[in-house]
């Protein structure tokens, strides 16, 4: 007979405990879970992301219904446990079910603390705790404008951010004069406030709430000082209290939470408590990492595995508000006997504070730059003594450069220490994923264990564990492997293509023994590009290996429609062309016409079926706004009109665009030409930018205005327009031949070094050779829009299949429901 294990509460701590138990001893118990919420187990932490629009409800389910079924767990969802008969070992629910137990685990979490204000029972006054609250807020934002959040702590700010994203006017009411007082010191807090104000939040600090006004629904909030604020929705986020009533009623010892010992046992035999409802050594934790640690200990206990018991946790917090980096851990306030090391950089908006006691790091606060967070957190937990060399913690041994090595930190971590707090993944689990399941990148570890899949705060630590486990060399080598289908690096693949004259992706995969027969969405486009680069004449472009944008020669948009961008050389157009574009836009009812960042016209919201027709009517070349190819050449007015212009930047830009249009490249490529050093075309954040100077041109390379902004480096100065084209051609071809697929010039040049690039282009001979290869490729390019317009076969692929004919329907005269 299996023993009966019953758990009350289907939340994060409880289910994580069950998962651990199943791993240790899957057959020991018949498990029943009683959960008040009508959902399977979900990631409560991510509710903030759901509210902010970064995740869906279904994204946050941790264990779906199937999981309970597959593990033979009986789940009574939507039922509340109402009483426990500790003598007969029975639990009763509100729906009248009685469940017997041999071992009982209470994991009832906590309840949001609701301020007992007059009027708090009005419609529109809620907490932020579960899916229902989240839905209420999303719903309210559709009909109402003004939201007030009471509480300027972690939860309140995350709620406020979500409501801002839902287009509500949000005021945050806080009783203290600075935000997140439990996690931040006043300096960091003020920086945070400033940042959040710039994101659109309004703060009412040092305000004591008095009463909630309104008839049936809330209309406003009155303060003790007589002032008031209008509100259609009030979210109370002022704290939580352990949910202990049930335990109390049946005589279990309760303080603030349910009192448990190091093995999570309560005062009554066979009854345990874990999670936010439990109080261990006087502390009731309100964050998942410690709760998972408790769950792991309880799992060992109930699986019959020995352990040292739970020793309490040091906690760290991170605010999940996009655009704000805040981290705090341990004891970070200045107390007698502590010393703090502070760095404050107002220019960069960075603040760091590390608190020492007897030479050991006991706490830290970071704002603006949280890259040190996992390292600091490890130092706090390891208890390493830094007496006399405290500064090394922030500045490294020599007062700069490398601080305490991450390898040491990782090796000091114990195996069952939680690395990813969001998903409760321990160091051992990650190491197992690396050594036994063959994960070789953070991405694979995430896919395999979920580590770093929540807030992402632990990513540096996961990376460090990966490097220390595999050794730096192996990680680097594997990282080069172009995707999960092969261990071969880009260079090996390209070398094989060239040496064996491979001309199709199929051949490459076959010869190099790909472990997926047809590759994946990462390697297929890469191989197609490498083949075309190596053998522009022999290789037949494989449409089925191109991303949708390049296959349809238009940009796919989130609703499945496309956007069309005709080429406008150098950003110069004519009244005739503008008229033509306008007529076509009208004819096809284009819902949005927009000027792009690259000086062109974007026709958005076009149905796929309409694309060939539009291209025909436009009768202009494709702008390649969709491709890994030359995009635009942005220009300024230059000497043609501008009073400062020293050279004709317009002509230079048009010449460049005409010469290099349609060129396939490893990633998109943007060029620009400015007529003088005032640089109005912003040429120094382009993949290649040209700036005219008196009597010549400067050529800048490897700039980027995208996700990682980077100013370009000066490659060379030349005198004539021909030389600009010569250097540009050589540079682009060198990039085409040596970059990884999907690597922008900025990353590429950092990887191989600017000096390598300069050297490769130094001699005229080398430049000519590169140019002759790029010219060959350019000579083969045709305009894709034109080609499709001219070919029936190609055009047909844009139409949907329709006019269904059914043998039966024909006989009965029935149509298929159309």
């Amino acid at each position: 007979m299996k023993k009966k294990l019953v758990m009350i509460g289907n939340g994060m701590a409880g289910v994580s405990f069950v998962e651990q138990l199943l791993k240790l001893n899957p057959h020991r118990y018949d498990i029943t879970i009683i959960g008040a919420e009508p959902h399977p187990n979900y990631n409560r932490i991510m509710l903030s992301s759901v509210l902010a629009g970064d995740a869906n409800m279904q994204d946050i389910v941790l264990n779906d219904w199937d999981w309970y079924r597959d593990n033979n767990i009986l789940l009574h969802a939507g039922q509340t446990a109402e009483s426990i008969d500790t003598a007969k070992q029975l639990v009763k629910t509100d729906k009248g079910i009685t469940v017997e137990y041999d071992e009982l685990v209470i994991a009832s979490g906590s309840l949001p603390f609701m301020l007992p204000l007059p009027g708090a029972d009005k419609e529109g006054v809620i907490a932020f705790r579960d899916i229902k609250d989240c839905e209420t807020m999303i719903e309210a934002s559709k009909n109402y404008r003004k939201a007030v959040v009471i509480g300027g702590g972690l939860l309140g700010l995350e709620a406020a951010r979500g409501l801002v994203n839902l287009n509500m006017e949000v005021s945050v009411v806080h009783i203290f004069n600075f935000l997140m007082e439990r996690q931040l010191d006043p300096t960091a807090s003020k920086l945070l406030q400033k940042e959040l104000e710039s994101q659109g939040m309004n703060f009412l600090l040092e305000k004591q709430s008095d009463s909630i006004i309104g008839k049936k629904r809330v209309a406003g909030l009155k303060f003790k000082d007589g002032t008031h604020v209008d509100a259609d929705l009030i979210v109370m986020a002022v704290g939580i209290k352990p949910n202990v009533q049930l335990a109390k009623d049946c005589g279990i010892e309760v303080n603030r939470g349910i009192v448990v010992n190091d093995y999570l046992q309560t005062s009554i035999p066979n009854i345990h408590a874990v999670g936010e409802c439990a109080e261990h050594r006087g502390i009731a934790y309100g964050l998942v990492a410690p709760l998972y640690e408790q769950g792991a200990i309880l799992a060992k206990k109930l699986a019959g595995v020995e352990s040292d018991g739970y020793q309490g946790s040091v906690v760290s917090t991170k605010l999940k508000v996009s655009g704000v980096n805040v981290f705090s851990a341990g004891r970070f306030t200045d107390e007698p006997g502590t010393k703090a090391l502070r760095v404050q950089d107002d220019l960069e908006g960075v603040y760091k504070k590390v608190v020492f006691e007897n030479g050991k790091v006991v706490g830290a606060v970071l704002f603006g730059d949280t890259s040190d967070s996992s390292r600091l957190f490890s130092v706090i937990r390891s208890g390493e003594d830094f007496s006399g060399r405290e500064k090394e913690v922030l500045f490294g041994p020599s007062g700069g450069g490398q601080t305490v090595s991450t390898a040491d930190l990782v090796s000091n971590m114990s195996g069952d220490e939680i690395v990813c707090g969001c998903n409760g993944v321990t160091k051992d689990t990650i190491i197992e994923a690396i050594t036994e399941k063959g994960c070789v990148s953070v991405g694979e570890i995430k896919a395999c264990t979920k580590a770093s899949g929540g807030c992402g705060g632990c990513k540096p630590l996961v990376e460090a564990i990966l490097t220390t486990t595999l050794g730096v060399d192996n990680v680097a080598a594997v990282k080069e492997g172009i995707c999960g289908c092969t261990a071969h690096s880009r260079d090996e693949v390209v070398e094989a293509i060239q040496r064996m004259r491979l001309t199709t992706t199929k051949e490459v995969m076959h010869v190099l023994e790909w472990n997926n027969p047809e590759g994946c969405s990462k390697c297929r486009p890469a191989l197609n590009y490498y083949l075309g680069m190596a053998f522009p004449e022999e290789h037949e472009d494989e449409l089925e290996s191109r991303f949708v944008n390049e296959r349809n020669h238009a940009n796919i948009q989130k609703d499945g429609t496309f956007s069309v961008v005709p080429r406008i050389y150098g950003g110069v157009t004519t009244p005739e062309d503008l008229k033509k574009i306008a007529t076509v836009a009208e004819k096809y009812k284009v819902p949005l016409v927009k000027i792009t960042g690259g000086q062109r016209i974007d026709l958005l919201g076009v149905k796929k079926e309409d694309l060939p027709g539009m291209w025909k009517d436009l009768d202009m070349p494709s702008g390649y706004a969709y491709g890994k190819a030359l995009r635009t050449v942005k220009t300024c007015v230059g000497s043609t009109f501008c009073r400062f212009g020293t050279q004709d930047s317009i002509k230079m830009g048009i010449d460049m665009e005409k010469k290099f249009e349609r060129l396939n490249t490893p990633h998109k490529v943007k060029l620009a030409v400015s007529g003088c050093p005032r640089n109005c075309a912003e040429a120094t954040i382009k993949d290649l930018g040209v700036v005219a100077i008196d009597g010549g041109w400067e050529i800048y390379v490897a700039g980027n205005g995208g996700t990682r902004v980077r100013a370009a480096d000066l490659l060379t100065k030349v005198k004539t327009e021909e030389e600009v084209l010569e250097w540009t051609g050589a540079y682009l071809q060198y990039y085409r031949e040596t970059a990884n697929w999907n690597e922008r010039t900025s990353e590429w040049s950092l990887r191989i070094g600017l000096d390598t690039v300069k050297k490769a282009l130094e001699s005229k001979e080398d430049r000519d050779a590169l140019n002759s290869r790029i010219d060959k490729t350019l000579g083969l390019m045709k305009d894709p829009w034109q080609q499709i317009v001219e070919s029936d076969d190609l055009r047909k692929a844009f139409d949907a299949l329709t006019a269904p004919t059914s043998p039966e329907a024909a006989a009965t005269g029935e149509t298929t429901g159309l």
């Binding site: 279904q58 047809e518 969405s521 089925e544 991303f547 692929a797 949907a800 299949l801 298929t816």
Partner: protein, 111 residues
Amino acid sequence: MNEVIVGHISEFPERRGRVFRLGELELALFKLSDGEVKAVENLCPHKNGKLSEGMVCDHHVYCPLHDWKIDLHDGLVQAPDEGCVRTFPITVDASGNVVLTIGAPAETKVS
């Protein structure tokens, strides 16, 4: 049960999607490299991406919007993502017609 001729096999380029509309239902059809034709609802469970525009690798399609990977045999989203797309039985008859079998109307959302 209803059988519908969707088109001729020659109209299906290998490993490329085609769209087929039936009332409100939109399907994505793919000819795999082994010649088999697969049909799924043209709606990614993530954010409604049009699977017909995705890249096909053996019997999987990658959604064009955020690269979820979906098994065309059973419609299951592959780990680490989760979800499921409706699949529809397809046969190719002797003369090369691609035939779709549609269940009872109630099941297929076709009014």
